[in-house]
Amino acid sequence: MELFTNQVLAGIATGAIYACMALAVVMIYQAIDHLNFAQGEMAMFSTFTSWQLMQWGIPYWAAFVITLALSFVAGIAIERILFKPLAKAPVLTNVAGFIALFAIINSSAGLIWDFTIKQYPTPFGSSPFLGSQLISTHQAGMIGVTVLLLLGLYFFFQYTRIGLAMRAAASVPESARLVGINTSWMIALGWGMATAIGAIAGMLIAPVVFLEPNMMGGVLIYGFAAAVLGGLTSPFGAVVGGFLVGIFENLAGTYIPGVGNELKLPIALALIISVLVVKPAGLFGRHIVKRV
């Protein structure tokens, strides 16, 4: 039983990271109808930036906040420079854009910081949480920061005017323009926020997976699995999907004989395919009730 509880809690902790990545993917998908394959690399680059800031002697939380601000601006810049001109281009052109972005960021990180694995600090420490062997303080911190982030985002989208405008721009762009919303800037804002959310995910997971240019590859695939499971049209679903995938991954690795660590990733991919076959809109995909 203790093993089970332990695996579920650990699953929730990594699931929190998948939830963040899924949420970042869904935010951009809602805004421009494309999957951002480079989301993980952007998060990795943000994480390296925070590491560099700490190398220069800036304390953890200051580096954390500065990185969020830089990531936000960088996300907006990427949208303005690369994807705004591609807005009316065919799907494949956009896919090529994302792959280019992936390669550029990955190689630049390798060029600047090289490909050797680096240790990344945790501000929470890694002792047992509240004296319990079930979960470490860092895992508890991952869950805590994610929950705060999700609450903040919920408040932002539900109760602020700019959040309302962003939702309107994503759901019916033409009507949004007709009430005076600058939809183009709402998309850029979405990119900025998604990039900052990805940065949080990267900085939280880096102490676990270690810092290197390919650190987010696996994480992003789990994030995609989470987004597909929850439904690409539903931010709430993406978050739930993230936690479910995290728990599922850990339990499958522990209890299904022969899965172990090596087969965990294929399980995420199998999950994506099964969901697409059985329930293409995902668990919380949009069911629009319409009367005509």
Partner: protein, 237 residues
């Protein structure tokens, strides 16, 4: 009477296809003007061109200021509210959120709150349903919501694209009654595009008839309604 909207030699294009061929008309402050015409005559295109939602040339002036080459969202800020064909409802949001979106460019939060109450007084059914997802409203209710959303801007000019479309005759009467009231009491100038010519002419003070992208007739709504020849050849009733 001062001219609020002045359109001169408007030509509009969808790709290579020209939809408007040099259309000119004007709308006086406080007036309720209607554009009539058959399917494909260019009524919707005219409204879309005013809000720069379609490529066009010619002069469009609002209170003497040119609107050409401005983005759709900045034209809204002049006080021009456009209720598009199909109503443009934010279907996944609540009725109240739809109304708040109508006022998204305004800064006076107290005024917005009192305007939402005013809309609920105009359209009591919206108050009953204010927490409901807007997509679940009936067609008539959604049209009420679209008009209310447009009014939340406190517009100088409201552009309405076929408000009667798909609605039951009684609902249409109701809606047109409210439009007349808004025009008289709130001093909102209205430009309404309609296929239901009979009803539109009852409501409007001035009318233009469009055929294949050109104005072919203009005058007082009453005169046009009483002219049997025009009615038979252009309006089909």
């Amino acid at each position: 009477m001062t001219t609020l909207l002045n359109v001169k030699d408007l030509r509009a294009y969808y790709g290579q296809v020209q939809a408007l061929h040099g259309l000119s008309f004007s709308l006086n402050e406080g007036s309720l003007t209607t554009l009539l015409g058959a399917n494909g005559a260019g009524k919707t295109t005219t409204l879309r061109a005013i809000c720069n939602m379609v490529r066009s040339t010619g002069a469009i002036e609002f209170e003497g200021k040119p609107l050409n080459n401005r983005s759709t969202e900045s034209i809204v800020r002049f006080g021009i509210a456009h209720v598009p064909q199909g109503r443009g409802t934010f279907t996944t949001m609540t009725v109240e959120e739809n109304l708040q979106l109508g006022a998204i460019t305004r800064k006076d939060s107290a005024g917005i709150v009192s305007d939402i109450e005013r809309m609920y007084a105009h359209f009591p059914v919206l108050k009953q349903r204010h927490t409901q997802q807007a997509g679940t409203l009936s067609g008539g209710e959604q049209q009420m919501l679209a008009v209310a959303r447009a009014l939340m801007l406190r517009p100088r000019l409201m552009l309405l694209d076929e408000p009667s479309f798909g609605l039951a005759p009684l609902v249409v009467r109701d809606l047109f009654g409210i439009l007349g009231k808004i025009n008289r009491e709130d001093k909102v100038s209205i430009l309404v595009v309609e296929q239901n010519a009979q009803l539109a002419l009852e409501l409007a003070d001035k009318a233009y008839v469009i055929e294949t992208g050109r104005i072919v007739m203009s005058g007082n709504a009453k005169d046009i309604a009483n002219n049997e020849e025009i009615r038979k050849s252009y309006l089909g009733y």
